[in-house]
C-alpha cells in the first residue's frame, strides 16, 4: 500500500492538485514513525512510510496546515476521518485547502505488546498475510499474529468507514464494525463506588502531566488551553493535594464530551499506560444511553447531544445510580 500511496501522492503533486503531502515519516526504527509534511517527490520516495505502526492521527495537524496558503494532500485512515469531520463541524479546518485520500486501515500494532511477547533485539518487522514477521539481531524471525499485538484502539475499532474524502485509495469504503468497546466501561460502572474510586486513583496516580494526551487529542485543539492560560487560575498551579492533578483528566474529559470521536490516541501516546480512553468512552456511553446513539464526527450534525436541546431530552435529574446498576 505504501507504494501505491507514494505513487498517488506524486501524481497529485505533479498535476498541481496539491503542493504538499501530510503523511508519516520513517524514523530510526521501524516502529518509530512520526506524522510529517512532504513537499517533493524525492522526500516522499525517501521518507514516506505506511506500515503497521502508522497509527498516529494526522487530522489535528491539518488545523494549522489548512490555514497556510496552498492545498495539502492528507491520507486519512477511517478513525482519522472521524476526527477530521468533527474538526470540520467545529470550523477548525478549512476543507477547501485539503485534498483527502481515504485509506483503509486493518489495525495498527503496539510495539510494547510485541516486546511483551519476550522478543528482544528487534531489527525489522515486515507484514505478511496479516501477520508480522519480527527479525532480531540474532537473525531469528518470529511470526506474530497481528491481532495479538493490536493497539487498544484497533482491537475495539468502531468503524472501517471513511466519513469524509475526495477519493478512496482502494476505490471502495469500509463499513462500521461490530465492537465491544463499552464492555470495559460497563465493568468499571459495575464496581462499588469505593473500588471504582480506588481504580481511578491508582491509574491516575501514574500521571506525570507530560500533556501528551492533550497535545495529541484532535478535540483538544483550543487556541489556548485553559491549562496554559494564566488567566484561568489553573495554569501551572501548584497542586494543594494529589487529587488536584487527577482533575486534569476529569476536566479534559468534560471538555471533549460530545466531541471525542474515540480515536484512542490519548491512550496510545500515554507513556504511563493510563487507560484514558475509558473516561471518554464513559461519556460516549452515557450520551448514547441518555440521548440516543451519537457518534461525534460521523455526520455533519454540528450540535452534539450535550449542546443540543430536544423536548424529549432526559431531565437533568435522571442520573445513573451510583454503583452502575443502570438508570
Amino acid at each position: 500500500m505504501q507504494d501505491r500511496m507514494i505513487a498517488r501522492a506524486k501524481e497529485l503533486l505533479e498535476n498541481g492538485t496539491v503542493d504538499r503531502v501530510m503523511g508519516w515519516k520513517k524514523g530510526e526504527f521501524i516502529y518509530d514513525v512520526t506524522p510529517a509534511v512532504f513537499y517533493t517527490a524525492d522526500e516522499l520516495e525517501k521518507d514516506f512510510v505506511m506500515n503497521a505502526f502508522t497509527a498516529a492521527n494526522v487530522s489535528k495537524y491539518l488545523i494549522a496546515e489548512t490555514k497556510k496558503p496552498g492545498r495539502i494532500l492528507a491520507f486519512l485512515k477511517p478513525c482519522d476521518s472521524y476526527s477530521f469531520r468533527q474538526l470540520m463541524n467545529e470550523h477548525r479546518v478549512d476543507r477547501d485547502n485539503v485534498y483527502i485520500v481515504g485509506i483503509p486501515s486493518w489495525g495498527k500494532a503496539d510495539m510494547e505488546k510485541i516486546r511483551a511477547l519476550g522478543i528482544t533485539g528487534i531489527t525489522d518487522i515486515t507484514e505478511k498475510d496479516g501477520d508480522l514477521l519480527v527479525t532480531t539481531v540474532m537473525r531469528e524471525t518470529h511470526a506474530v499474529k497481528k491481532y495479538d499485538v493490536y493497539l487498544e484502539k484497533c482491537k475495539n475499532c468502531k468503524s472501517k468507514r471513511i466519513v469524509v474524502y475526495d477519493e478512496l485509495l482502494d476505490g471502495e469504503n469500509g463499513e462500521d464494525v461490530p465492537n465491544n468497546r463499552f464492555d470495559e466501561v460497563a465493568k468499571i460502572e459495575a464496581m462499588p463506588p469505593d473500588e471504582r474510586f480506588a481504580f481511578w486513583r491508582g491509574e491516575l496516580s501514574r500521571c506525570i502531566r507530560c500533556n501528551a494526551c492533550r497535545n495529541v487529542c484532535p478535540a483538544c485543539s483550543c487556541e489556548k488551553c485553559v491549562f496554559d492560560n494564566p488567566k484561568s487560575g489553573v495554569e501551572n498551579k501548584a497542586p494543594a493535594d494529589d487529587f488536584e492533578e487527577n482533575l486534569f483528566h476529569i476536566i479534559r474529559a468534560y471538555h471533549v464530551a460530545g466531541r471525542c470521536t474515540d480515536c484512542g490516541e490519548c491512550s496510545r501516546v500515554c507513556p504511563q499506560h493510563i487507560p484514558l480512553h475509558l473516561l471518554n468512552r464513559k461519556f460516549i456511553k452515557d450520551m448514547n444511553e441518555l440521548y440516543g446513539d451519537y457518534q461525534a464526527g460521523e455526520t455533519e450534525q454540528v450540535r452534539h447531544p450535550v449542546t443540543n436541546y430536544r423536548d424529549d431530552d432526559a431531565e437533568p435529574g435522571i442520573v445513573y445510580t451510583r454503583g452502575g446498576s443502570g438508570r
Partner: protein
Amino acid sequence: MQRIGVFVCWCGSNIAGTVDVKKVAQTLGREPGVVFSADYQYMCSQSGQDLIKDSIKQYKLTGAVICSCSPRMHENTFRKAAAAAGLNPYMVEIANIREQVSWIHKDMAAGTEKAIILGRAAIAKVHLNAPLIAGESPVTKRALVIGGGIAGIQTALDIADAGFPVDIVEKSPTIGGKMAQLDKTFPTLDCAACILTPKMVEAAQHENVRILAYSEVAEVKGFVGNFTVKIRRKARYVKEDVCTGCGLCTEKCPQKKAPDEFNLGLSNRRAIYIPFAQAVPKVATIDPDYCMMLKTGKCGVCSKVCGVKAIDYTQKDEFIEENYGAIVAATGFEPIGLDKFDEFAYSLSPDVVTSLEYERLMNAAGPTGGTLLRPSDLKHPHTIVFVQCVGSRCDEKSEKGVPYCSKVCCMYTAKHAMLTREKYPDTEVYVFYIDVRTPGKNFDEFYRRAVEQYDVHYIKGMVGKVVPENGKLKVQASDLLENRQLHIDADMVVLAAAIEPDKSARPLATMLTASMDTNDFFTEAHPKLRPVESPTAGVFLAGMCQGPKDIPETVSQASACAAKVIGLLNKDRLVGNPCVAHSDELMCNGCSQCANVCPYGAITYADKEFRMPDRTTAVRRVAQVNPAVCQGCGACTVTCPSGAMDLFGFSNNQIMAEVDAICK
C-alpha cells in the same frame, strides 16, 4: 484593593433569630479589604438604606456586601441605594443569609458560621467586580397573545384599547375557547355565549386587534421588548379573506362522519365546517382528515357550490414572522383524559359523560338542541348522578389524576344540578363530593340554593363503581355521613373531570423559556406579588394556563396582565442587563459550540485577522456577542472549552473566587 462595606440585616427576627448578626458583622469586618461593617434591623428600610449611602460616602467604599434576603427580593433596592450614593450598582453583592441560612437552619452556631461563609464568598467576588454600565434597547410596540379564549380575548382587548396593536394566535379555527362551549355561567346563570360573543365580535372589529386563528407559534426568538415570532398559519383550504361564512358548503359537503369537536364528539359535522354559528372569524375550514377531495382527489362539492370561489385545495401551511415587545401566554386548559378511570364506566357507556359534555347536552346549540336527552337512546334521564373530584386531588403518588383541586368543579356541578332540577323537576339528582368548596362572591349562596331550594341530594362520599346493566347505570357509592353503602340505578352519570393545562403549552413554554411547575402550569415570577408575569421578562400569563380559575378570576387576571403589558409597551427604551457574555477573541476557537447552546441567538461569528506570535497574520473565525440580545444566562460560558466566553458580573474567576472562599 477594593474598599468594601459589609451590611448585615436582621430582617427583624427573620435572620437575627437564627444567625448571630453581630458576630457575622464583626467577623466579616476583619476580612481583607473590608473597611466598614455594621448590622441593622431592617437594611431595606429608609434608614437602613441611608446607613448604606452614608457609609459609601464616609468610608469611600468601592464595593458593598449586603447580608440579607434573597437577591430576588431586594437586590434592586440596594443597587439603587448604592447608585444614589455614587457607587456603581454592580459593585453591590448580596449574601443570602435568610432563605439560604436562617429559614432553613435551626442551630444558631451553625447558621452563624454559614452566614459568615456566604458573606466571605460575596466579599471575594466584590474584590473582582468591576463597574458595569447597562445598555438600552428599543421596544417593539406590539403584543402577541397566544390563545384566543376568554383570557386571551380580554387581554388583547385591554391592550388594544390602550392603543397598542395586538395579535391573537389561536390554534383552532375560531376564537372563543372553552367558554364558548359552556351553557350557563355560575353564579348568575347568564348564558356563556351571550356574554362571550360580544367580546369576540369586539375583538374582530377592533382596529388594533388582528386575529390569527387556525395558527400556531412555531418559533420564538429575541428577548423582552424585541421578540421575533414565527407563526404557522395552518392551511384551511379556504381563502380566509374571500369566504363570507355563508355556510352553504357546510350543508352540501357529502362527508357527514367527522366528529364535531365543538360538541366534543357527541355529534358529527361535515368535512368542511364552521365550528359554531358565532365563530370568529366566520370562515369555513376543511378538515384534511375527512375531506375526500384532499384524501382521494375525488369530490370537490364545496368548491362547486361556493359562490365566491373561496375554496383552495392546494393551500399549504404558511409561515409569517412578526416582531413583538411582549408575549402573553393564555393557552388554557383541557379536561383530563378518563382512560385511567374505568371504575366510572366512561368508556363503556355513552351515558357516562364529562361535565363539559353535559354542558353541550344542556346547550340550545348542542347536539340535542337544548333538550336534556341521554346519548345512548335519546330518552329523558330521570336519575342523574354527579361525581365530583374525578381525577382532582389525587395522591401525589397515584398514577392517575392530578394532585391539585380543579377549583371550578364544585360550582359548575351545583349549576348543573340546579339547572337540571329547574328544567326537569321530575329528575332525581345526586351529587357525590369529597368537600364542597365555594369561596367566592355569591358562591356559597348559590350552592345552598341547589341544596335547599332545588332539593339536590348532596352526599358526602365517593362513587366506587358504575356498572352499565340493562339500560341503567348501577352506581355503587358510600355515604360517609350516614356510614352506609348506596346503590343507585341511574340513567346518567356526569363526571367532574379534573382540568389540566393544554398539552400545547409545554413545547410553547420551552420556546418562551418560561418555566412550568410539575403539573405543566406556567409558573409566575412571584406567587403573591407578581402573579401575572412569568420569570422570563416580557412573557406574561393569563387564565387557566397559570392555574385553575373560574371566568371572573380569569378575566381579572387577563386585565391585570394587559396592564403589565401596557406598562412595558409604553416605554420607549428598556435598560438592559449589563451582565452579558463577551468573548476573548484571542482565545476563541470559533468552534460554534456557544452559538449552538445560546437560546437567544445572541452569538454570531466573524472572520478576523490576527497577528500571530510569529509576526505573521492569520484569519480566524471568532465569536461575537450582541449585548442587546444576550440575556446573561451563561450557557455559553460553561460550554466554551477554552474559557474564551465569559460573563460580565459573573466571570469564571469571580465564581471560582466564591467557591474558593467557601471551601477555604
